[in-house]
């Protein structure tokens, strides 16, 4: 079998594990400037799945695609350090404020440009929006099958892929026809580390708009080291229709943002005896909280 053309959709997200009081803007969107920007954790797991496929299928190529501001190119470089081959940044001021519908529209336009591909991988969801909608919507727009919540890819043959998905209450093994899209669950294995040599090789990789801030000798380096070129596409490159873009193209509106302080409403005091614990377990099983 020839190598696979694998595309990973990745997002640079604010590190919501370190949320401060300025995390949200008045209009209800995330204040990205106030939080450190990281590679969305489940997208990293998707990248690992892609790299494992590349290890198994000689001649495969992994392209990472991200949509966001220019600084989102940082996660493209990060992906190159870990083993990806190419990076594509989709950036345009007109994309600002996109909801999942507008985002999946733009991504599907980009993917059409990258066709033909065999497998698209993305994280189940991003830690900023937590919608888990973008992956499935992209598959729908491209009219290709999808398997969500994937924990492990078991086999890939010429036309078929077999993957195990993690459901809330068990596992399911599914087969799908290529090309198809997979979303990867948080239980999948961690992404491999950055490699020192790859880091030194790719650290000067940049998009055309980043290039304008580089020193001249590094710009010249791009002339004979084409692997340092990150692709950058805007609205025109994608021939995207403006009506579907940005805040305007996003029917999702945040109505209000409320601070919630968690308080314990109900508590039970248990006696430290086996009987009391058995009784609690029985109750939890009965209510289907466990088991």
């Amino acid at each position: 079998m020839k190598g696979l053309n694998i595309i990973v959709l990745a997002k640079q997200v604010p590190d919501t594990r370190n949320v401060g009081k300025d995390a949200m803007k008045a209009n209800g969107t995330v204040n990205r400037a106030a939080l450190p920007a990281i590679f969305n954790p489940e997208d990293l797991l998707a990248l690992e799945q892609a790299l494992r496929l590349k290890d198994r299928h000689e001649g495969s190529q992994v392209t990472v695609v991200t949509m966001g501001p220019v600084r989102a190119a940082n996660i493209l470089r990060d992906a190159l350090f870990r083993g990806a081959d190419k990076g594509v940044l989709i950036t345009d001021k007109k994309f600002a404020g996109s909801d999942t519908l507008a985002t999946s529209y733009v991504l599907s336009r980009a993917l059409q440009k990258l066709a033909p591909f065999d497998i698209i991988l993305c994280g189940r969801q991003a830690i900023d929006g937590d919608t888990a909608q973008v992956g499935p919507q992209v598959a729908e727009k491209l009219k290709i099958p999808q398997i969500t919540y994937v924990e492990e890819i078991l086999a890939v043959s010429k036309q078929k892929i077999t993957a195990r998905r993690r459901m809330g209450n068990g596992m399911e093994t599914l087969q799908g026809k290529l090309p198809l899209l997979l979303t990867v669950h948080g239980a999948a294995p961690a992404c491999r580390t950055r490699n020192a040599r790859r880091l030194m090789k790719y650290k000067h990789a940049c998009t055309p708009s980043e290039m304008s801030h580089q020193r001249e000798d590094y710009i010249r380096m791009h002339e004979h080291r084409h692997y340092l070129d990150l692709t950058e596409w805007n609205v025109n490159d994608l021939q995207a229709e403006e009506a579907y873009l940005g805040l305007y193209g996003s029917p999702t509106k945040v109505n209000a943002v409320t601070n919630i302080v968690f308080t314990a409403r109900e508590s039970k005091v248990l006696a430290p005896t086996d009987e009391a614990i058995n009784a609690l377990m029985a109750e939890l099983v009965e209510h289907h909280t466990v088991g």
Partner: protein, 574 residues
Amino acid sequence: MGNYFTEVEDYKFHLRHPLMEKIVSLKEGDFEEEQEYDYAPHDFEDTLDNYMRVLEIVGDICENTIAPNAADVDAEGPHLEDNAVRYARGTRQNYATLVQAGLIGMALPRKYDGLNFPVTAYVMAGEMISRADAGFANIWGLQDCAETIYEFATEELKDNYLPRFNKGATAAMDLTEPDAGSDLQAVQLKATYNDQTNRWYLNGVKRFITNGDADISLVLARSEEGSEDARGLSLFLYDRQEQAVSVRRIEKKLGIKGSPTCELVFNNAPAWLVGSERMGLIKYVMSLMNSARLGVGGQAVGIAEAAYREALKYAHERAQFGKPIIQFPGVYEMLTDMKVTITALRSLLYETARMIDIYRGYTDRSHRRPLNKEERLEMKTNSRYADVFTPLLKLMASENSNRIAYDALQVHGGAGFMQDFPIERLYRDARITPIYEGTSQLQVVAAIKGVTTGTFMKKINEYAAVEVKPGLEYLRHLLSEMTTAYTAAVEEVKGKENEEFMDFHARRLVEMAGHIIMGHLLVLDAQREEKYKYLAELFIKKGKAANAEKLAFIRNSTLKDLGTYRQVVADPVG
């Protein structure tokens, strides 16, 4: 998320040392490898950026993989399976991650798939890994063997074995035997040459071999039949694929339990000669040992850093008498002393690493073209300094690391004595550092040459001649008083013209020199960055007091005392 590299500011500070420009130029020349290798640097700043960013990967792996595994690795340890070593689960994960990151063979040239890193940056990685898990640091640090192969082996051996490091080969240095510990001249493992097969064969037993079941082992063996001293010993390379060595047992140890310490039986094991015959101990092992001593110095600093952080955290969390215990002078003095000592040791560690980088850099250059007069002089001077700074560092770092682990456990009180906190493991792990790769007593034997030949004094004068800001002059004044006391102590001991008297006081003299040197280094650090000023001041004040005590004892001691001390020899045993 934490990162072992970015959270210790000293690292970047030492990588920004003015001498780094010279070290980079010795490593990279005019950056000509950029044409040949896609990961070779473009210029000085690019090289420094490479060091920092690669070390940041190391720091990430330390924080997120090695440190979280450390407690389990300590509990599980390696075990024997069919006369072979099987690492603990965490050890296997740690090593696989470092291989994936391309961090084995860091100091090797690119030609052999290495990263071409200087010793200074390599030791920094070692220090961080030791902080995360000192036992594991041994397994990783044995890539030093690659350096020895690179320096002394034939081109053929180099081509066959060096590229294997980057792919993940593990290494071991097989020196110690049941009757040859500190005294390696007594090594008996036999090497015989077979004319038919044109190979050397090894037979005998090695003991206390760290990572003894490694892929590639450097073995010290007696190649000259009938010889008895160092001149009959040669160094060999044994490849595990030959399957002619069995692991008889793995020792049960006090600390660094994750690192397998093996007893090995060589059963007609085919091996390759490294370098020339009879130079094994005299030249190659000495070089290997110097790298290992520098590594142990870094390891000791890493353990000290870990212990200090545990103590600091506990001292904030633990409240007694209505306040956190860090508020009490008895506790905060200990913590500040730890921090001051660690900073001073680190300055000594990277100063020594730079000396090694410079002389090795010139040695490497001398293989490409003849050196000019100044270059030759600089190579020689740095080699001489490194010869006495390396044992000084190993002595000071390992002994102080134990002191720091002791105090850090003390800060924990009763809780520290239980197995519930990491400090208990750190305390056990620190204990080996003044023992292996030459005990403290042997480091003194090597470092005393720095006192008697005046090498330390020469360096001290060099430091003192560097102009500093007026705000640091008072520290220079204290150091100059310490130097006067040191000179007096040396004169006093030399004046007795008695070798045993010199040996008796050797450690005191070496430590006095060490305090002055570390004090000077901290002053020079303060010259570059203000925040080192108070650390320098505190270090010098305590160092001065310690030196005064040593001088007082030296002045009070007589040749007659030696006899009195010797009486213990006659004491009944048992």
